[in-house]
């Protein structure tokens, strides 16, 4: 009798969470004029979180059908700051570049989905996305673990996923023909971080913490491999899902007295960790990957992270000269500074739109199939975006990706603004492995 309640709680909790998650999504509506492969789920109501970003300019009679581009990223929960940036960046991309499709007679629409940074929610959304025949391309995700859970579903319906943020090598190394990304990879990022720590920071010993996700543990493993190879002493390698109370992890670190703590994970967990480490009197330097690239890190951790270094594949939007207009538009529309990864989402949207247009042209101006869109991305050649120029190799990686080493600004003020003043210490262009 006493044991049962726990199980009930888990079971009911999981079931309810699934239901809630499903309800929270904008349920894809079926398109009567385009009955296609998978059976579309007809939703009674469509709680679209944002207004349709681009209004159809054609008269309904001339319309050749509706094209939707989905985004998947955490719009709620602890990592929403980056996830909403991806959605918003993609939305701006559709507003700016969707005209090309509208001129051909299509209605275009953004279909944002909230994956809550949870693999199971992302996989459930992916099924919804796959069953909506109007969705021809996906911009997402933020978390590699969520993308890896969703990719099999996308592959089964040959739906292209262009990721603005996923850095785990498995995304493109697992043989998915439909997986693309506009950013670098963690095997390189881990090595970039390690080299910077060893040569520029003069680190001799490191203690590595990760968040046990595909992304965080992945990049931490790559850092460790490089460190061991190059003679940095690895004093510990610990994973934790704890998000608030880190004292029992900090005590062994205090005793080990490393030169550096490398945190493979995302800002929402890293911020309290760094803060508590400093309060504990730990003086080691901090370093982390692109998951830390959010003003929220500074907001939550305060002084503890000022001046710390981190590597990124994204960098603050202020680093990209071509993205100046984007940054202005973003601020005007969403009333906040464009967060990291939003410019990459804009570019991912651009890749999607160009491919859909190419595929439609080949298809005699009619709506292309999903296979044709994947094909068009693969053969599309170079794409010049606002945060870089991308040409995809056979795996779906950009042939050359940019990696940054950045330093958190020590200025005071609103974290969102201060974050844009973060200094680029190093910028490397490295071909995909």
């Amino acid at each position: 009798m006493k044991k049962q309640p726990i199980f009930f709680r888990f079971a009911v909790g999981a079931a309810l969470a699934a239901v809630l998650a499903a309800c929270a999504q904008p349920t894809p509506t079926s398109a009567p004029q385009q009955p296609a492969e998978p059976t579309p789920t007809t939703a009674p109501a469509e709680p679209t979180p944002t207004a349709a970003p681009a209004e159809p300019t054609q008269t309904p009679a001339a319309s050749k059908g509706k094209i939707k581009i989905a985004t998947q990223s955490p719009l709620s929960g602890g990592q929403a700051a980056l996830g909403v940036g991806i959605r918003n960046g993609a939305e701006l991309g559709l507003i700016d570049m969707g005209k090309a499709l509208e001129e051909m007679g299509f209605e275009v629409e953004l279909a944002p989905f909230d994956d809550q940074a949870k693999p199971e929610v992302g996989a459930a959304n992916a099924k919804n996305i796959a069953s909506d025949p109007d969705i021809l391309c996906v911009v997402g995700h933020l978390n590699s673990g969520v993308a890896l859970a969703s990719l099999p579903t996308y592959r089964d319906v040959s739906l292209a996923m262009v990721s603005p943020a996923n850095t785990n090598p498995k995304i493109t190394e697992s043989g998915y023909p439909n997986a693309f990304r506009v950013v670098g990879r963690d095997d390189v990022q881990g090595a970039v971080g390690e080299e910077f720590a060893r040569t520029e920071m003069g680190i001799k010993s490191v203690y590595i913490i990760h968040d046990k996700t595909d992304y965080g543990q992945g990049v931490a493993e790559f850092f460790r491999q490089q460190a061991e190879k190059n003679g940095i002493k690895v004093l510990g390698f610990e994973g934790t899902e704890e998000k608030a109370n880190f004292e029992s992890i900090l005590t062994p670190i205090l005793a080990a007295n490393p030169d550096l703590i490398y945190f493979g994970g995302i800002y929402d967990q890293a911020a309290p960790f760094f803060k508590q480490a400093r309060e504990r009197g730990i003086t080691a330097k901090f370093l982390g990957p692109d998951g830390l690239d959010s003003p929220e890190l500074l907001k939550l951790a305060g002084d503890a992270v000022k001046g710390m270094y981190y590597t990124s594949v994204a960098a603050p939007v202020s680093q990209f000269p071509d993205a100046a207009k984007f940054a202005e538009d973003y601020k005007a529309k969403f009333n906040e500074d464009a967060p990291p990864f939003s410019a990459q989402a804009y570019d991912a949207m651009g890749v999607c739109i160009r491919a859909i247009k190419t595929a439609a042209d080949k298809n005699g101006g009619n709506k292309p199939t999903r296979e044709q869109v994947v094909q068009a991305i693969r053969e599309g050649g170079e794409y010049k975006g606002i945060a870089g120029t991308y040409k995809f190799n056979a795996k779906g990686d950009p042939e050359k990706a940019v990696y940054f080493v950045l330093q958190v600004s020590e200025e005071d003020g609103d974290p969102a603004e201060v974050w844009n003043k973060n200094k680029v210490v190093k910028k490397l262009e490295i071909p995909a492995p």
Partner: protein, 390 residues
């Protein structure tokens, strides 16, 4: 003395009797705290001694010894966290024989009340001008009031109408309340600008206290650190436990609570307003949870709407470990669980040469030990002493 000046009309207690009934159970808790710390330390040292030589790079015994005092402090802080939450579970169980699964969320709401207070104080510019002790008292009181009232309203709305129903029904209702609170707070936090990850702003508590320096080698010493926030937590938790013991064991109200716990129909025949006493139990349990939430927030610095789930689950475990329904048992269970977790998290990786990450496997090992304890003592460490219920 205020304690002696509160005689009940029927039984006149002497100061000595009062003290005995208040500090008797606390003595029991103290024995268990010291005892489990010693047992675990000796056990760990023994393992370190046996494994000595398996690692060439470190002397395990020395490495164990240098962080031992720090691990004990960590375990104590963690244990008091579980203990203060476990009290809410155990009191409600004692009176209603019902597990209030929403209690973890009541703890979380207390933490958010503290975070909201902090953000209000910051925007009115008085936060840093407040003396730390005053701030702690105000914040804890706010958390207690918010969570206590919340617990009472939950009882009134979600549990009281189900009191005659089969036992599973209020349990499901409690799970519903728990989910409702999580996502309700998530909504409010996002709309109010606190954000999902709400910063818990406090005045500056100053640098951590350095209790000692433990020399490791000639040129290096490891400081033994007690964070002022952790100290605040321990002191506040002890004060709350003393007050609770006084209330339950030495006042007329406490007698009424114990009477309701023992036999509800008979208690009501004796003129006790049972509904009122049950509501009061929820108020006390909720207030303790709220205070724990605020103290937790002060210590960790960031709270989110799901922060109550795991501590709640573990506190429930702690209550079962100590003997559910038994107040000193909940404290003992919480502290033993806290020690177990701290020891495993800090030492597992060291003992296994990094093969098992202590932080990842802490729960597994701690809970395995817990299952072992429950196999040999199914009614918990202190047992479900019926006459001591509540």
């Amino acid at each position: 003395m205020a304690v002696a000046a509160l005689p009940t009309p029927t039984v006149r207690r002497t100061l000595r009797m009062t003290l005995a009934s208040v500090f008797g159970p606390l003595g029991q808790v103290f024995v268990f705290v010291v005892g489990s710390a010693i047992v675990l330390s000796i056990g760990t040292l023994l393992i370190a001694f046996l494994l000595r030589g398996t690692r060439a790079d470190v002397d395990l015994v020395q490495a164990t010894l240098v962080i031992l005092p720090q691990v004990i402090i960590d375990g104590l802080v963690r244990g008091f966290l579980f203990a203060t939450i476990a009290l809410g579970y155990t009191m409600v169980y004692g009176v209603l024989e019902f597990i209030n699964f929403a209690h973890g969320e009541i703890f979380m709401v207390g933490a958010f009340a503290g975070a909201a207070l902090g953000s209000i104080l910051v925007s009115s510019g008085v936060l840093n001008a407040l003396p730390v002790p005053l701030y702690v008292v105000v914040a804890v009181l706010v958390g207690m009031v918010v969570s206590g009232l919340l617990a009472v309203s939950i009882e009134r709305v979600a549990y009281r109408p189900l009191r005659g129903a089969p036992r599973l029904v209020p349990l499901i209702s409690a799970i519903g309340v728990s989910l409702l609170l999580q996502d309700g707070v998530r909504l409010i936090a996002n709309l109010s600008g606190l954000g999902f990850n709400a910063r818990f702003q406090t005045p500056n508590f100053g640098p951590p206290l350095r209790l000692a320096e433990i020399p490791v080698s000639e040129d290096r010493a490891i400081p033994l650190i007690l964070d002022v926030r952790a100290l605040t937590f321990i002191v506040a938790a002890i004060l709350m436990l003393v007050a609770l013991n006084y209330l339950v064991n030495a006042t007329k109200l406490g007698t009424a609570i114990r009477a309701v716990a023992q036999d509800r129909p008979t208690a009501s025949l004796m003129g006790i307003n049972v509904n009122q006493i049950i509501a009061l139990t929820f108020l006390i349990g909720g207030a303790l949870g709220g205070a724990a939430g605020v103290l937790f927030g002060i210590r960790v610095g960031t709270v989110n709407p799901y922060v109550g789930f795991l501590p709640g689950l573990k506190a429930f475990t702690a209550a079962v470990l100590g003997g559910i329904g038994n107040i000193p048992g909940a404290m003992v269970g919480g502290i033993v669980l806290g020690f177990l977790e701290a020891f495993v998290a800090s030492y597992l990786s060291l003992m296994t040469a990094g093969a098992f990450s202590g932080a990842s496997y802490a729960d597994i090992v701690a809970f395995s030990i817990l299952i072992l304890i429950l196999i040999f003592r199914p009614s918990g460490l202190l047992g479900e002493a019926v006459s001591q219920k509540v």
